[in-house]
């Protein structure tokens, strides 16, 4: 058992022991290392000014992804290589993205700039010749208040790709990989942080510490800590457990491992469930999707979690593993009330089992938010329609943001069952849906707004489906 974590920072090894492992990466960089190019603005993963690259071992090499360092803790970084803006041009001259940003006036005040530079450098790890849409996608998680983004997008497109070096070229990974391989099988225990290397130890630790928090991406946990001064009783990481990060498809059922990231999920389902793509695109920033997990989105139990309406209508099951073995629970039975789960203290979500829509099924997903991208939903909806000739055979409807948990709408579903798929029918269903929910007013929208969306979205669904068929 190791009593420290090991990671590399811009090519140099960092060994962290004790409570130091519990600080955020951004604070460690700025106030510990005085690497102040990484900025802290919101400290909640919503502006991207703190973006850094984290390289993790995947299939024998280091795969670099951008994350928000303000809500990433050092204990999450065991066996990684962190590259900051200072590390992008180790030999003095700027990299090609930096040169393009200078040329295109992509920086004005400069405070958001390092975050954009890192996010765009990450893009070139994936895409050799990015188009405008690629650039927009890559910097969705970065806010700029000065430029209006236009010069930044231009810089991304006009970067001299021939001069763009990959991180592997700047920092050959052989030494790091060798070092990691030697210790990757070891469990890590630092204070109340535990990273086991097998499932049994994880369950035992969880049983021992009933209030322990499983921290994988820390995309919400991080905000509890930075904004609410949350101090966890214990922290459990699943990063050391083989297989939990896998996503597989077996006989029409998707099985998503308990620590599979949202980014992994997004790329796996892109072609499989095309209707999910726009929602996954707007789900969060690349930085958040690279860190956060589908299981985390579920366990966090927010009534506006973007994955949930989809999981409700497809009839997803959660595989829970505990001391007494494995059991499955239907997603809608998992939530017993606002943030109350059918989950025993020793249990861990090990897989999410999603029966994919069958051919002939019509799936539609909706997300309404104040801003189209990088925003938490005001209202979400999913419909899964199975037709019986021109009639509605069976329909499942789930709404989010209209109650303490995501809701199925049994009365509306019952009303629609067997009816013709027609505008006046969906219109009437809307008024039933409206009466079936009791949303609250909050910062993301008023009660009346949500009621109106609940009513209208069924008509929108009608037009979406009929136009697609027309």
């Amino acid at each position: 058992m190791r009593d420290h974590i090991l990671f590399y920072l811009n090519g140099k090894p960092q060994r962290v022991v004790g409570r130091a492992a519990f600080q955020t990466l951004s604070r460690f960089l700025r106030y510990g290392q005085r690497a102040t190019g990484t900025k802290i603005v919101c400290e909640e993963g919503d502006c991207g000014a703190c973006t850094v690259l984290v390289g993790r071992v995947e299939n024998g090499s280091l795969k670099y992804r951008p994350i928000n360092s303000c809500i990433q803790f050092l204990f999450q970084l065991d066996l990684t290589h962190v590259v900051t803006v200072e590390g992008l041009a180790p030999y003095g001259s700027l990299n090609a993205v930096q040169e393009a940003m200078v040329r295109c006036h992509g920086a004005q005040c400069g405070y958001c700039t390092p975050g954009f530079i890192v996010a765009m450098t990450a893009m070139f790890e994936e895409t050799a010749k990015p188009c405008e849409a690629d650039v927009r996608r890559a910097v969705t998680g970065n806010l700029c208040r000065c430029t209006g983004y236009e010069p930044i997008v231009k810089a991304g497109v006009e970067t001299d790709t021939a001069k763009m070096q990959r991180i592997e070229e700047l920092y050959p990974s052989a030494t790091m990989l060798r070092k990691f391989a030697g210790i990757s099988g070891e469990a890590v225990r630092i204070d109340n942080f535990f990273k086991p290397s097998d499932m049994a130890s994880a369950i035992a630790f969880k049983a021992e510490h009933p209030k322990c928090v499983i921290v994988q991406g820390a995309t919400d946990f991080g905000v509890w800590c930075t904004k609410r001064n949350f101090v966890p009783e214990a922290v459990l990481s699943l990063s050391g457990i083989e297989g939990l990060g896998d996503i597989t498809l077996d006989d029409g059922t998707l099985a998503v491992g308990g620590r599979a990231s949202l980014a992994q999920f997004e790329s796996f389902v892109r072609d499989l469930v095309p209707q999910l793509a726009p929602v996954m695109d707007r789900f969060g920033s690349p930085q958040i999707k690279n860190a956060g997990t589908l299981a985390g989105n579920i366990a966090n139990a927010s009534p506006i979690a973007d994955s949930l309406p989809f999981l409700y209508v497809t009839g997803a099951q959660l595989e829970l593993t505990g001391k007494s073995g494995m059991r499955t629970v239907a997603i809608d039975a998992f939530y017993k009330g606002y943030k109350t789960l059918d989950l025993q203290p020793d249990e861990i979500i090990t897989r999410i089992l999603i029966p994919l829509p069958k051919s002939g099924d019509t799936l539609r997903l909706y997300k309404v938010s104040k801003r189209s991208h990088l925003d938490i939903s005001s209202f979400t909806a999913a419909m899964l329609l199975r037709r019986d000739d021109s009639r509605i055979g069976n329909i499942r409807i789930a709404y989010g943001g209209v109650g303490p948990v995501v809701l199925r709408l049994p009365k509306t579903e019952a009303f629609l069952s067997g009816k013709p798929f027609a505008l006046d029918v969906l219109h009437e269903a809307g008024t039933i849906a409206r009466d079936e929910i009791t949303p609250l007013s909050d910062v993301r929208g008023s009660r009346d707004f949500r009621l109106q969306l609940a009513e209208n979205v069924l008509k929108k669904f009608y037009y979406d489906v009929s136009e697609a068929n027309a």
Binding site: G37, D46, V102, Q108, C109, G148, V368, L453, K460
Partner: protein
Amino acid sequence: MTVVGKNIEHDSARGHVSGESLYIDDFAPLAGELVVDFYASPYAHARIKSINLGPARDIDGVIGLYTYGDLHHNLFGPILKDEVLLAEDVATFIGQPIVVIAAETPEAARYAKMAIRVELEELKPILTIEEAIAAESFIGERRVIRRGEAERAMGEAEHVLEGVFVNAGQDHFYLESQAAIAIPGEFGAVTVHSSTQNPTEVQEVIAHLLGLTMSQVVVLTKRMGGAFGGKECQATHPAAMAALVAQKTRRAARIVYDKDLDMHATGKRHPFRNRYKIGFNSSGEITAAIFDLYSDGGAYADLSPAVMGRAMTHVDNAYWLPHVDIRGTICRTNMPPNTAFRGFGGPQGAATIECAIEEIAVKLGKDPLDVRRVNCYGVDSRNVTPYGEIVRNNTLPRLFDELSERCDYRARMADVLRFNQESKTHLRGLSLTAVKFGISFNTKFLNQANALVNVYLDGSVQVSTGATEMGQGVNTKIRQLVAEELGVQVERVLVMITSTEKNNNTSATAASSAADLNGSAAVDACRRIRARLAEVASREISLIERDLEPSPESLHFQDGWVWDERTPSTRLPFEHVVAVAYRLRVSLGERGFYATPRIDWSWTSGRGNPFLYYTMGCAASEVLIDRFTGELKVLRSDVLMDIGKPLNPGIDRGQLTGAFIQGMGWLTTEELRYDEKGRLLSHSPTTYKIPNVNDLPEIFNVDWIDNENPVNLRGSKAVGEPPLLMAISVWTAVKQALGGGALAVPASCEEILMRMTAATRPEVLAR
């Protein structure tokens, strides 16, 4: 080769992209440096009954706790002296500092904040303009601008319509929150690094509050991580708190707001509630207009009177109003003091008349562009503003015609109308609006600047002015001007940190005019240095060209060389001339000065010539609205402006795109939500939504016409604020899509959906 007018890179760009550029929070801590924080009022309005600092004092690492009694003076304010740094008997807004905390660590400061016991008795707050009007709670006097006989003309008008334009505030959301470091010096002096647009005001207020002379306070500003007006006055408070700690403890002290605190405690763009009554004839010509503007000034005056002044002088926007009454009233509420924000009341004024014009068009069944065009200020007649200033060098008619042509407005409007007839799922809107933005501070005496230029023995140059760099590129423009005036390569010129030690009694970097004022002062300094160098060089050249009479007027300074046009092949390196001048004991430093000519203003008469010139423009935006969700997409925006001859087209273009998107945020997604007690609910980017890269118009064309501005520096025009008003076209496009009717700012998807529902099915909302 000339340097001015070229697209050269921002002088900090390389530092920005490499992360090397330093901001306040990036400075390495000094030995013994303290963390400064403050205990703030949790209530919008409360009587302070007692303050118990005992338990907080006992916390390990807490070095000092200070209340208003620890200040030499507590009262200050940029226009009216009505503001206190630390609340005394009554707290008047949420986030108002009551106790300043000095601690050795952030944790100790946090524990201290929790341990401070302030007994507060909640009082009834005034949270809105309506409540303030009902309670007759105002700041200063109602002001009036009047021309002709508006009431009589209204009575004779063919048509009359009335309406209300309402806008909410906007948070600046500069990425770098408020921050300052204060370092104690000898004999009570203090040096302050402040993220401020106005080092002189920080200096003046600190001196006043701490009982020092201004000469004992030095304020420095390297750069800001964005400001947008939010650091014109409100950077003073954190700087003063840090300076207080430095004075009391004799230790360096740093304060850095986090984003949530910054959003809770600082003022915003002013909410306005503007009533308008317009008389017009059947061709849409406005014959009479009466505007009653009300702004929410917040708890203290701050810059509200000046903001109201700009709103009142911009409510005409691009349109001739023969008979007009404009009244402006500032409400005193229990919100943080609202303050400068790019546009400075101009957007709220201009949006009011653009809103009214949409309504006129609906009423007459005309295309709004025709109504705008028929009312547009003329070139030779119908060209006098309500306050008596002539709109000179008026390019508005040209901009209207050129842009509507370029963006194919007529054909697209026909498409939009057809689309709206046919589509069951979406609505489209198209609108073309204008801006005429007055350049100069409305307050005459602020229109001055000084600059210090030092030439060193090796021919390198430093220039210092009162301008502060917040990303807008003022330093780059000054660098270009100095390089060109002295005829040296731009790399030889460094623009130095802004410091009250080098440039005294400076005005805020504001009103879009920092380059105009400070650039002109720098040019003044350079010309005098150059004249002296020309004397020296002409004598040097005549030593080589023996038969040439020395003639300083014949000299050229360019690209690091100096030569006489009569013998262009004999070239002296600039640094050689400098070295000779030094040996001849000729001064190689100069202080330049500039005061804007020909401006005047009187509030007594509501008349004058407050602006040296106007920056103008037109913009056309097309939007797509989802009929079921109210979701908005900007499909296309075309911006065409008259910004004179840009000093740096790359930098000016960035001002156009940036200001437009920032304005679009104010008008669409940026929603400040408060609870019933006035507490801000949307106080971080999770809930407060500034535009994201995906909100850019799908097609975004930005351009300017070729037009030299005869009255300003190198034919240029100020460009910082005017393009923000171009985004009003997005909002009027939404209004046009909805067929007119009330629409608030911001037109969020909720606002849009609820307006559509109210218009088509009012019974639903009544349930």
